[in-house]
């Protein structure tokens, strides 16, 4: 973490800064996991390209916030560059995520059966990353986009207060996101989406427009992903293809499976476990000298990260085998007895 003063952290301690980072990660991961749970856990669309909606939100935020490339001396290339304020860029991220979510949906949902949809969407994820990496004039390719103007709602304030303010914004977005999510996962519409998940043919046989419902969910889930990406990039200040490799979708998927598919609270618990405790926790293994020695021995500099993925993969398999309903199973509503 280095010397806080040298990092421009002002009076903030390194641990306080780390806490802020974790809270922003948690908030943005929650939004993303909720979106994926809506698509996969509730509606049964195994969207293995979900990370692309997050990337779309992040890139949209970036090109809406940055000024024109020429104004910054053309040191990075990108389309757009509108130099617009934070709320507009955030909204652009939401819309971009939603649109991309629907586009991903169209590739798989129109013609393919459930099992093949996942493959089609994974391919979309790989293709999107390849295109963005290769087409440098589009979004600066592999190098990614950096040097976002600092988000400063309280620019005259201490950086510490600014950063806590950002945590507050993320928290507010999470509250709104959760409210929107619950509108989809509870009540008659939630029931209908779960029916589509359980048997799309039987759902069609009672008049449900399965494709339309799924595309609607893709739009909503994508909007949550887009919001997540925009908020994340607004905090970390840069975005590149390395940040949205397809495996990131698998981390979210693990959070959904471990937490409890279809249960919004369960998925929240799963997100905390997977995205924060495990994936951030393994960073501390860097302080274990024995591991450092192993890294050197195998010439594998990212050994701790690899360990994180191994833990995730193992957890996914164990849960699918022994507790497919996850930590908090989907709740069974009681309608049977007549209520007063």
């Amino acid at each position: 973490m280095g010397d806080p003063a040298a990092d421009g952290l002002g009076a903030m301690g390194a641990w306080e800064f780390y806490l802020i980072v974790l809270l922003v990660y948690l908030g943005t991961d929650l939004l993303a996991a909720w979106g994926l749970n809506l698509e996969f856990g509730v509606t049964g669309v195994a969207n293995l390209g979900y990370i692309v909606t997050i990337a779309a939100g992040a890139y949209a935020y970036v090109i809406f916030t940055l000024g024109s490339p020429a104004a910054a001396g053309d040191f990075q290339m990108y389309v757009g560059g509108f130099g617009l304020p934070f709320p507009v860029a955030l909204a652009a991220g939401v819309v971009a995520g939603s649109v991309v979510g629907v586009l991903i949906g169209i590739t798989g949902l129109k013609r393919l059966r459930q099992d093949y949809q996942a493959i089609a969407m994974l391919v979309v994820s790989l293709m999107a990353a390849t295109v963005v990496s290769a087409d440098t004039p589009f979004l600066n390719g592999n190098a990614g986009l950096v040097l976002l103007p600092n988000f400063a709602p309280l620019s005259d304030q201490d950086p510490e207060i600014q950063r806590w303010a950002y945590v507050g914004i993320v928290a507010v977005c999470c509250v709104i996101g959760y409210f929107v999510l619950r509108r989809f996962t509870t009540g008659p519409i939630g029931r209908t989406l779960r029916a589509v998940r359980d048997d799309e043919y039987a759902a069609a046989a009672i008049g449900k427009d399965v494709v339309l419902l799924r595309l609607m969910v893709q739009a909503a889930g994508g909007a949550l992903g887009g919001l997540s990406g925009a908020l994340l990039v607004g905090f970390i200040g840069g975005w590149s293809p390395g940040a949205w490799a397809y495996v990131e979708t698998l981390a979210l998927l693990t959070a959904v499976i471990v937490g409890g598919m279809g249960n919004d609270r369960g998925v929240s618990v799963g997100t905390f476990l997977i995205a924060i405790l495990i994936l951030q926790g393994v960073q501390f293994l860097n302080d274990v000298p024995e591991l450092k020695a192993l890294e050197a021995q195998f010439n594998r500099p990212a050994l701790t990260q690899d360990l994180g993925w191994i833990v995730l993969g193992t957890l996914t398999i164990l849960f699918i085998w022994f507790r497919p309903q996850g930590i908090l199973p989907e709740r069974r509503p009681k309608y049977g007895e007549v209520r007063g």
Binding site: R183, P188, A205, R332
Partner: protein, 256 residues
């Protein structure tokens, strides 16, 4: 009125093939309004395929399907369902992750809570419509003697119970024409007789049924008209009592 009412369903020259196999080979028949028509025949005769094409589950390779005189050939299953053509499956398909009563609730047509306004308005907007639907669902469960299973996950039900859930779910949509693929299979004799009475009662309220059924006794009791299929073609059509005596029908059942 004068002229006889148009049949609710008219099938003419319907064709469906799988590769080189003509599973349904140019069949024609009709279902009169407020009656139960039986579709029988040996295994592999093409009954289920015919049902699958009529309800829009499979696209036809030829022929026409008219609903109330209107061409609905090849329309998607959910569109036909919204127009009142609702089918059940040969192997009962329930929503396993939903409870029994939810399986019924989900089928109610025009739920306010399913609309965009419902998403915006929340429970205050759809609460009343939900209560109505809930009342109907409880009534239906009562009629099938399954109140005690209301809050059980449908995946935990027995085969016969699943079939009953599927039938109840289809009825919850308030259909005009029900296409039932062996609705009695796996049901207890008493429930099966009860269901027969219920179907007959519903026809008096204007419901029409096309019934694929193996039990000829059931067909005998329920169907005013029976269509016999064999090897993708309509072999004979008429009352069960007449058909039983016809040689080609007997041969089809013996030889297959």
């Amino acid at each position: 009125m004068g002229s006889a009412p148009r049949p609710i369903l008219e099938v003419s020259g319907l064709v469906k093939h799988y590769g080189g196999v003509r599973a349904v080979d140019g069949i024609s028949f009709s279902v009169e309004r407020g009656t139960i028509t039986g579709l029988i025949g040996p295994n592999g005769a093409g009954k289920s395929t015919a049902l699958n094409v009529i309800c829009g589950f499979l696209p036809p390779d030829g022929g026409r399907v008219l609903l109330d005189g209107e061409d609905v050939t090849g329309q998607a299953m959910h569109r036909l369902a919204r127009r009142g053509v609702v089918r059940t499956f040969q192997l009962a398909r329930v929503f396993g992750g939903l409870t029994t009563i939810e399986n019924l609730l989900v089928a109610a047509p025009g739920q306010r809570g399913e609309s965009a306004l419902g998403l915006l308005g929340g429970g205050r907007y759809w609460g009343k419509s939900e209560n109505e639907v809930l009342g109907r669902a409880r009534e239906m469960l009562g009629a099938f003697g399954m109140q005690d299973k209301a809050d059980e996950y449908a995946r935990n039900l027995s085969g016969g119970q699943k079939r009953a859930v599927e039938t109840m779910r289809a009825l919850m949509t308030r259909p005009k024409l029900l296409l039932l693929d062996e609705p009695m299979a796996g049901l207890s004799p008493s429930l099966s007789r009860q269901l027969e009475d219920m179907f007959l009662g519903l026809t008096r309220e204007g419901l029409s049924l096309l019934l694929v059924e193996h039990s000829l006794d059931t067909v005998d009791r329920l169907c005013s008209k029976v269509v016999v299929m064999a090897q993708g073609k309509v072999l004979a059509e008429g009352r069960m009592s007449e058909l039983r005596t016809r040689k080609e029908v007997q041969d089809a059942y013996v030889i297959g």
